[in-house]
Amino acid sequence: MKKALVMLMVVALFAGVLGFTPVRAAEGAIVQITIGSTKATINSKAVVLDQPPLIESGRTLVPFRFIGEAIGAQIGWNPAKKSVSYVLGNKNIVLTIGSVTAIVNGVKTTLDVAPKILPTGRTVVPIRFISESIGAKVDWNATTRMVTVTVAAAKPSWSTPIKIVLSAPFTGSGSILGTYCKGGAQLAVDEINAAGGVNGAKLDLITYDDQANASTAATVVRRALDSDKAVAIFGPNMSAAVLGVHALAQQAKVPMLVGATSPSLRYDTTHNDYLFRLRADDGVKVAQQVKYIVEILKAKKPGIILGSDDYCTSALAVAKQAFEKYGIKIVDIESMKEGDKDVTAQVTKLKNAGIDVLVGLTHEPEAAVVMLKVRQLKLAVPIVGFSAWGVPAFTDLAGDAAIGVISVQGFNPADTDPTVKKFVDAYKAKWGMEPSDPAQCYYDGVYLLKKAIETAGSTDPVKIDEALKTVEYTGVQGLMKCDALHNFTNICYISQFNGKTWKVISKIP
Amino acid sequence: MPILETKMSEKTEELLRIKNLTVMYNGITALRSISMTVDKGEVVSVLGPNGAGKTTLLRAISGLVKLEVGSSILFSGKEIVGYQPYKIACEGIAHVPEGRQVFPAMSVNENLEVATTRVSRGLRKGRIDSVYQLFSELAGRKNQQAGSLSGGEQQMLAIGRAIASGSELILIDEPSMGLAPIIVQRIFRTLKEIVKETRLTLLLVEQNAKLSLPLSDRIYVLSQGSIAMEGPVAEIHDNQMIQDMYFAKG
């Protein structure tokens, strides 16, 4: 019972965390059997048959259930009519025991050999007929007496809906981001479908919750690749999750378009031809932040308040380099940990170091904690924060303390650019709320994919991938074009918070 | 008048009546169909070798062990089988367990205080003071942590707790265990005093019959979970078996 209690806890704990592992027979499989032998292989994995294949009138007969499962078909058995059916994709085969008449996709066909029940009680069916009817290739090796059935992976036909998958966090630490990701992507999909789709085919967006968690994201991506047969995957949106799964997309040769912003996802690091980024990466943003501090604010003695995780420390690395390039020395770097609620000492030290600008490289709640302390201790210098300092999750918490904060943003809904305005209005009309970063990047991403499919003239993921590298598209984020780092855009805004909205100071580029 | 009449009335005032008390531990019978009575104002001793079931008997009365169906314990005429231990305590049965069991991280005074839940608020202090009168050793250590007392003092505190509670019946389990003879004598002297002055009812389990018998009115001898013998001290004292078991020299 003690154990039971603990188990209960564990189950409760993981109930929401664990996803699913689809165990499906191969779609796109190679099946090998040998006459008279119970040993067979599916995708070179050994399996044992309960009935060895046999030859009758020159045709190879195999157990009906085995062949169905091996090629991944759904198997039906009607005891009244003594009929066996196979369904795979849009193919449908019905055979009747003892009858040479079969029905393939509703059309009557005659077999050379009828399916039969052996004295052992096993039902066997002609392997070549089943395989070829389903569109598989059958090879016979007379010396080894081996039959090889090759089932090609089903390719979505041009007329069926084009499946795309979005992996985004809807529960867990980034749940609000998932809402924006989906809001942007779904808006684009609906707009495209309403306008007639992509070359007449509708887009079908399937959304999964990856909980901003690398292992859940892996499950989601596998499902998207294996069972959904997505032609492209959007997300995950969190860098750590992308790092964990982008190789899966590479293996499957399916393009993955992400809004994650870590510099470690650049092409020169990942060398993944199937991974693309839909918004400016953090390295670009920090560089712009420093540029603004030095060139516009003319600051000489920057101080930094720094969070502890990868998002913060990789921003610091870029900031250090950037300041160095200008020949400016950072006079003080004070650290805090995510979850810290008192930064009196840090802010005191920054103040006493005589800084003339405070550079904020933390997450949202820490930014709020810092700003409340900055106001309390009257640290009167310009505050220029990183991207987390430019979102509602920060301003909601900091309230009035956030007034005057300058931040580098990937998106600013207050931008008066007509394309941005049109997007913001459409988003508001559809979802009843203002879009926030990263909604715009998945919106742009779906349009970009549409263009790539049209350019490729195919829904083959490999061809789409090739097209993605060359297409150009002008969206909410301006001109989107894949660069050497597989980034589509470097756009960012320097904006200042006035208590209600973020006023755009400059838009780069 | 007095003597005969008093005796008569006492005889009729039965405080505890146990009938057919049976306790099983993991399939072994620890107590088998025990039947006994304790009258008001009586001191009853339970003798018997180790493992005879003496401690189990006291624990059974206090509701600490599960009783078999058919067991009955009447206290002041009320069936208390099935009561939770604290309820039995509130009915007026105090238990001074083996090994004292004082609350170590509480002061002497607090130990006594928590035992007075059944005493009405206004009388609590008086009851506690009466304990300090009986055990002057404790009076000087009111605010000392009970855990830091000597073994003898802890035993006094444990008995004091039972007295403070104002219970009608006190169950005492091996009060001499692990204590120096001089301390034991000191404690029994006080017990005798208490019995004489307050006509308190005691059910006493004590290995050392030399100490307990002079105090007792009647004796039950337990052996292997059953009552082997019973009777007034005067009668049973001369019994050869008792002599051999408890008074043999050497």
Partner: protein
């Protein structure tokens, strides 16, 4: 470094330290009453803060109603803890360790539940204790007004707890139950009742702390684990797990050590230094350094 800087840091350290102490009180109370350590102690703070947020901000129930309802639910949760966690473990022969394991799981469980229900983004706490940006200026020192609330409530809670445990019959009954359950029942203490009350009081204290701390911690998952949980526990240990005042002083010293190690050494080593100090203290004085309740062995 000027005097006002120093004072400013003492105030910051003391306030955050007091919050650790407040959380530690929940640990102390349960230990005092039933000698169990509830590793999901901190969850009550998070649950209360989210409940209050739901009632006050989302359902517009008004401060008093929202507060009372939240704490009532938290108290009922305490009762449920007893009947759904403690008792089943006891019934099946489990002991302290099993309770620790179960409550550790529970802590993560509540974090997951709140994450699913409210999302992971911290929410601003309504300014019921004054605006976050309202500061009281004393000379060159500026103090957020919510700090005064924290000081006040901590003071009141410590006083109430101290009196309750040390001076009242019910408090003594709690302590007796903790020290020897069987003996407590033999002296007539309804152990079931004191155990239930202990759980309800323990979760309520932490619940009150949770609502009080939300202006500083926001309505966030940070209230349900992480540094405050660990340091609240550490504060309780410094008070020997039984001394309420010692627990608050333990919390204060942790808060001050954190601030001063940042100020005089480096912010990068803040946590390392405070935990090293804590470990040293525990090894040196395992019964707690601020423990006047138990002396000697």
């Amino acid at each position: 470094m000027v005097l006002s800087d120093l004072l400013q840091n003492i105030i910051g350290g003391v306030t955050v330290g007091a919050t650790y102490g407040l959380i530690g009180l929940g640990v102390v109370f349960l230990w005092q009453s039933i000698e169990r350590i509830n590793f999901a102690n901190i969850s009550s703070a998070m649950l209360a803060a989210y409940l209050f947020y739901t009632f006050y901000t989302q359902l517009h129930l008004g401060f008093l109603v929202a507060f009372v309802v939240s704490i009532a639910i938290i108290a009922a949760y305490g009762l449920a803890l007893r009947h759904l966690v403690l008792e089943p473990i006891n019934r099946h022969g489990g002991d302290k360790l099993e309770f620790v394991v179960a409550t550790l799981m529970l802590c993560t469980f509540w974090l997951s539940v709140v994450k699913v229900l409210y999302g992971g983004i911290a929410k601003p706490f309504p300014p019921v204790f004054g605006e976050a940006t309202s500061f009281v200026q004393i000379g060159s020192i500026s103090i957020p007004s919510v700090y005064f609330w924290i000081f006040f409530v901590v003071l009141v809670l410590v006083l109430v707890l101290y009196v309750l445990l040390q001076r009242t019959m019910i408090g003594k009954m709690f302590r007796a139950t903790a020290q020897n359950k069987e003996m407590a029942s033999l002296v007539g203490i309804n152990v079931g009742m004191t155990t239930s009350l202990a759980f309800m009081l323990s979760t309520s204290i932490v619940g009150i702390a949770g609502i009080l701390l939300a202006p500083i911690y926001f309505v966030s998952l940070d209230l349900g684990g992480g540094p405050i949980g660990v340091k609240g526990f550490a504060a309780a240990v410094m008070g020997g797990l039984i001394d309420p005042l010692g627990t608050i002083l333990g919390g204060l010293s942790i808060g001050l050590i954190e601030n001063f190690s940042t100020l005089f050494i480096s912010s990068a080593y803040k946590d390392v230094i405070s935990f090293v100090v804590l470990v040293v203290v525990l090894v040196w004085k395992p019964r707690g350094i601020f423990n006047w309740t138990t002396k000697g062995d």
